[in-house]
Symmetry: C2
Subunit: 425 residues, 2 copies
């Protein structure tokens, strides 16, 4: 499988088509619909015995015109790179307010009410650079993005500006999902590039009364139709047991969703292609999930249907690739300790391909709801150093993907599916 | 050390200066001399107790004007991207000849004499894509570049064109060292991009009598002065035992030598900086070797001096980084089986930093001659998938380096030096 992937692998060419002919494909967008058609065709071309769609209703948010952010009243700082966070309300013209900078919700809570009321809260806690696995740093910073608008609005703020989830200093704002809650005002929420966040923080030290001006025309429309795309190879001996390989088909709207998560989609499709000729004992399904980024409706729908078919089909394991198309290093296994140990026993088989870092870990957002069915959830673990350079930003383009790194990931998934298929887990 | 490298690491900024203020630094060039000055200053800034130069004479080859290559008589193929191989003679005006394509020296030897005589031999064996570690593929293809001109000239050829040592299809020719031998004519030798190599091969199938035109104005000048740059932290307890960390300061002339081997130099300097405050028991030397690319005169001179000082200073171990500034995965150990086992026993200590792939392997070209002194030679093993995209080509620029990947490599070297320094090997 690795030989085939490194010589005639299809992941890279599939990704090129998805990125360059369709591009960004946020839930509800015309491109998301095109991506579904692409997925059906790609799974058929890969040799799926059957391909079907699972409809679900997905959130539909639109960015509108490019956002602008401007610092008023500070020397040497004017326009700064910003973008709306996904799900945010717009500004209805422009929003201008003084700024208060905090690093944590605790710091925000400790401020006197008048220091927050009527202001824009600037959440500026950087991702922790010391974690070797960058996802740990994401986990430690992302509540500012996800919940910052709620916490700020509860205290009377009129908007939030959040430091981008990015480990390097650059000029790209990184979008991503944010939430509101019932009963609390919905205030506009934007991301600001890491470099501009540092500049704004510096400016605030000398000019605490500077003001920030934000223009965003984003809006939420009624829910729209979305679809999981499922392709299956029926198992040759134990077809009633299912192994899923998957990624999510939707992407944020600022780039091409190459690493997040076009890579996972083409790797899942490739895994199916690589397995096809080997006639795996168990049923293998490649699933291109809808709406991971801002709703996980596809994940919920897949799990709902998996429950319905549980009497006839048991979901033994699910492997997701949603950590970028970088050089694979192994797998994170989420399940009973016995399952982790069984997978770890295969490390010598995986070592020649340098994908033998098999550890207890996180499966993936789209396969998470399958946990209720006792499914072992497995995440492909690529090297994580470059992921947040591109994650949810304009930099997540096809050119940022290396062919061999991408193809090795698909082969690694196929190899693990094969082991589970033939040996159980 | 990892925390320091990931928060305040100096490798990346040092590399920026080396790449952007000095750039390409082939042996004998003015930039090579500037790089020596840079190295002295950088080692002092990193906290070396003493810094010195080791003079040696190095080959001095110049590319001259950019080369041109042209296919004559084939449809849809004209100018193609070529560059002289390092050490080649020029073409004295233009060289035009029919082409014969071969994949191996054996294939060349089996051809009738008249199929080679007066022709340009086109060596077109691709790097093997199936090796997961790309260096194995380099080893399997590079004899075409190194020895192709000798083998072709022995059979009466007038020039050679060699497929670039590159695992991807692109338009960049990759240079690199080639050799002549006494008593055999010195014929011009060029590299051609992988894409153009494929096109030329296709064209030859339909137009076997096409001709290739090559213009190269490169030449070899008298040997020039070169210098190893050595910075030392004197051991606090066992200063008579030396551990070397190194990379090579010279680079090919087509780009900035960012991965090859600016990365190794800045990592060696950083390792010294990271170790400085810990007062290692044994003496640590960061060595920026001269002339790895086309002569290894620096390596020979360092080993010669190490032999001279052997009665007073024992070279216990040497670690080289010369495989690119990519995410480190471990180390290759070249030495007695006991030394390999001892290093492997440290894997649990290295695992939190994901650099625990410790295997018997190759140390490095610059530290190889220290083997005669019983020194354990160790190579840093970064992920190898992207290396040959940039190796010896115009693509080897600072922008192709990721800060965190680079800094982790320097920290990994420092960590291993520390273990050896405090525990022996």
């Amino acid at each position: 499988m690795f030989d085939e992937a490194l010589t005639r692998g299809q992941s890279y060419e599939n990704l090129r088509v998805l990125c360059k002919q369709i591009g960004a494909r946020l839930s509800g967008s015309p491109q998301a619909a095109k991506a579904v058609e692409w997925g059906v065709a790609a799974l058929k071309a890969a040799g799926a015995d059957s391909v079907w769609l699972q409809p679900c209703q997905v959130p539909h948010w639109e960015r509108g015109k490019p956002e602008t952010g401007r610092v008023l009243g500070a020397k040497n700082l004017g326009n700064v790179p910003v973008c709306a966070l996904g799900g945010s309300v717009g500004t209805t013209g422009k929003l201008t307010a003084p700024v208060v900078e905090v690093r944590t919700f605790e710091e925000l809570a400790a401020l006197p009410a008048e220091r927050v009321k009527g202001r824009i809260v600037f959440f500026n806690r950087p991702m922790e650079p010391r974690n070797v696995v960058s996802f740990a740093s994401y986990g430690g910073a992302v509540n500012q993005r996800g919940r910052g608008a709620i916490e700020a609005a509860r205290r009377g703020a009129v908007g939030v500006v959040v430091r981008s989830m990015n480990l390097r200093a650059d000029d790209y704002p990184h979008t991503g999902a944010m939430r509101y809650e019932d009963g609390t005002p919905k205030i506009p929420a934007a991301a600001i590039s890491t470099t501009a966040a540092d500049q704004l923080s510096t400016a605030l030290k000398t000019t605490p009364d500077l003001r920030f001006e934000l223009r965003m025309s984003c809006r939420t429309l009624p829910d729209a139709p979305g679809f999981n795309v499922v392709g299956e190879i029926r198992g040759s001996a134990r077809s009633q047991e299912v192994i899923v390989v998957g990624g999510h088909l939707d992407s944020w709207d600022l780039a091409e969703g190459a690493h997040d998560d076009g890579a996972g989609c083409v790797q899942a499709i490739e895994a199916l292609r690589l397995l096809k000729n080997h006639r795996p004992a168990r049923t293998v399904r490649a699933v291109l999930f809808a709406n991971e980024e801002n709703g996980t409706r596809g994940a919920q729908e897949y799990a709902r249907q998996a429950k319905l078919e549980a009497p006839r089909r048991r979901h033994l394991a699910a492997i997701e690739s949603d950590a970028g198309g970088f050089a694979p290093r192994g797998f994170g296994i989420q399940g009973a300790p016995e399952a982790v140990q069984r997978a770890q026993a295969w490390r010598p088989l995986l070592k020649p391909y340098l994908v033998d870092a098999v550890e207890a870990g996180h499966g993936g957002t789209d396969i998470d709801p399958l946990g209720e069915l006792g499914t072992v959830r497995i995440g492909l673990s690529p090297d994580s150093q470059r992921y947040f350079d591109v994650h949810h930003a304009a930099t997540d383009v096809f050119e940022a993907v290396n062919r061999r790194e991408l193809e090795l990931g698909g082969a690694a998934m196929a190899a693990l599916v094969w082991l589970i298929s033939e040996r159980g887990l």
